[in-house]
Symmetry: C3
Subunit: 154 residues, 3 copies
């Protein structure tokens, strides 16, 4: 049961789609972890915090989304919206070829629908958000790491 959420986002250029993604993860500070993709619930009582210092290769359940483009000048963005309330919360991801504020609006609307459907009261929305204007081949990534509190060295 994860108890600590860390938000991360970054963008970068690269020589290939995969290395552009890897470089964007590096800008986000999470390139040296093994990400396990999960869908997308905030545990009840979880708190938000800074990135703990994890050894290279640590397995970390992570909600993430990314976008890649090789169209020079194109704006790309990736967003995770985290809605939180007393009962828990939901994480909704959206990426597109367009600005981050539009992506945030889409993701926030999805959070609101998720809360309404569950009959939960929405107390706040937090974003991991990244926007990039492509030079040659670029990527934007947004992520929320689901960590155990014990992994944090105070």
């Amino acid at each position: 049961m994860p108890r600590l959420l860390h938000f991360a986002s970054g963008c970068s250029e690269g020589l290939t789609p995969l290395t552009a993604f890897d470089n964007a993860l590096r800008e986000a500070g999470i390139d040296n972890l093994n990400l396990l993709k999960v869908s997308s619930i905030v545990p009840k009582g979880a708190r938000f915090g800074p990135r703990p210092d994890l050894p290279v290769g640590t397995l970390v359940p992570t909600v993430y989304t990314h976008v890649v483009s090789n169209l020079p000048g194109e704006v790309i963005s990736a967003v995770i919206a985290a809605g939180v309330g007393a009962d828990g919360g939901v994480l909704m991801e959206y990426h597109h070829k367009g600005p981050a504020d539009d992506a945030q609006r889409v993701a926030q609307a999805m959070v609101e629908e998720g809360f309404a459907r569950r009959g939960w009261k929405l107390e706040g929305v937090h974003f991991a958000s990244s926007e990039h204007k492509v030079d040659r081949l670029g990527s934007a990534v947004a992520a929320v790491l689901l960590l155990d509190s014990e992994e944090v060295t105070p």
Copy 2:
């Protein structure tokens, strides 16, 4: 090593593809978990059982598949077939834009091929199966959760 398998399926409408999927997970009773997508083996000796009461945000390895459509009137379906025998079993997933009984036939044939290839004797096939007729934007989901027996409170 998971020891308990729980079958779940559901379908729903939503305002976006992601929230339609989230709503279908809710109908399946598994919307408040963090699903880790896995491929797709039934451990030897695993048993099937009802959904245990898991806290919001629990990480659960899950075999799942889903389909989304925004064509009003279209029938969509998602199926997991679980073939079981003395040596273990295989889980095969299939989704399409068509009825669930057709999807079940495809998934069952894949289970039979998987058993034949392994030289295992197939003793039975179970399905998680969902079918939905789209109103505006709908999703159907089928899932098999791979749980520890200890997670079940008797």
Copy 3:
């Protein structure tokens, strides 16, 4: 934290895309495991070794990639390149409809970019690599399993 890496690769025909993939996993010796897809870091100090004897259905974090084709005579390949150094390493995956040696060159170049970006010194590159000439419907898979050392029975 995984400490042992096992390389696996295989290819096969099948009656459907999913069973061709399953059969290719069987040729790779990893068809009876539940693979959790991860991205893609070699822990510092990890070593490489043979496949331990794991029970049917064991959950194993795995970096994998695969390709499917139903064009008779087409050559398909799937490759994971593992770059290693004193600080850790990176795993880069590539699959395409073409020969494995081309895929290895692409994957190696991505490893080199990943090391350069991190400021790490590359000491060696290892490959999991698979190539297949399609008969009717074929799949090629490459995988690196991330295991605990304790899972190995000496």
